[in-house]
């Protein structure tokens, strides 16, 4: 029998990375500045988290020029959406299990 925490995904089981996927799962796409502001992280920190998620195939990053300024749009992939749903339900189940055990 495996421990319930083994179902957690090491890549997205992290506050900022889960937040990135949560924002992207609600939208068609979000830009770098928006994610930085909502998640309250520095540009460098956000870049690192985005790179990890992109390497894992959870997000896609598109860079371009709009209105004479560079713009970085990020979209969630199908794999990222599924990983987020799985992670959130696993965490909820774990927390409920712990709460039930504590009440017993």
């Amino acid at each position: 029998m495996t421990h319930p925490t083994s179902a957690l995904d090491d890549i997205i089981h992290q506050r900022v990375r889960l937040g990135i996927l949560a924002v992207l799962s609600e939208s068609r796409r979000a830009d770098f500045g928006y994610l930085k502001e909502v998640l309250e992280v520095t540009a460098g920190n956000l870049s690192q988290h985005l790179a990890i998620l992109e390497d894992a195939g959870h997000i896609q990053i598109t860079k371009g020029i709009e209105d004479k300024r560079s713009r970085t749009w990020i979209t969630v992939t199908r794999k990222g959406r599924a990983a987020l749903a799985s992670e959130v339900s696993t965490m909820r189940a774990l927390l409920e299990g712990i709460a039930t055990a504590q009440r017993a």
Partner: protein, 189 residues
């Protein structure tokens, strides 16, 4: 796994999700409300057969177009891009249901349903939308539309009085969604 950390991580992702939804939905909610209200006003005031009908006939599409343009521009500048498809589908669905309610009233020879059915259907749709979106504003507009419809029936209001009430409701809705978008814009920028 640290329990508090897990709880905090989950809460943070919920906050991020809610924030994104709030930032995106406001203009599209305005689209649903104003477009459907202007069409329902036609049935409640018999304005379809009067020159005033022109106001409602143009207010809906023009208002919807202006809101869609605003939403598109705001999405691009704020950095979060949403798809309006779900809200356009809700608007079209509400209008089809309202039209069907009116037709059923005519088919069964029940003039009250033919005239007021569309408003009740749209108000019920707003309530469902308010529940889904957790929006007090939409719920308040739903109850206001129900109250206006009940007043038109209960007090047998004249066409002029009905028009005045509906103009007031349209104006209040316009102000409410405008204020809501203004608040949202301040949060994003």
């Amino acid at each position: 796994m640290n329990l508090d950390e897990a709880r905090e991580t989950l809460a943070f992702s919920e906050y991020a999700r809610k924030r994104a939804r709030d930032d995106m939905r406001r203009p599209w909610l305005a689209l649903v409300l104003l477009a459907s209200l202007s069409v329902v006003s036609l049935s409640l005031t018999d304005a379809a057969t009067s020159p005033l009908g022109l106001f409602w006939a143009f207010a809906g599409p023009l208002g919807a177009g202006a809101i869609a343009l605003y939403a598109y521009r705001r999405n691009r500048s704020s950095g979060i891009d949403s798809s309006p498809l779900a809200y356009v589908a809700i608007t079209v669905g509400l209008l089809i249901l309202a039209y069907t309610a009116g037709k059923i009233g005519f088919a069964f020879g029940v003039p009250v349903i033919a005239r007021f059915g569309p408003a009740f259907v749209v108000a019920a749709g707003y309530l469902a939308l308010a529940w889904i979106e957790r929006s007090w504003m939409v719920a308040a507009i739903s109850f206001a539309l129900l109250a206006v419809t009940a007043a038109v029936i209960g007090f047998d209001l004249s066409s002029q009085q009905s028009k005045a009430l509906l103009f007031a409701l349209y104006g209040i809705t316009l102000l409410a969604v405008g204020f809501s978008m203004r608040v949202g814009r301040k949060q994003v920028l």
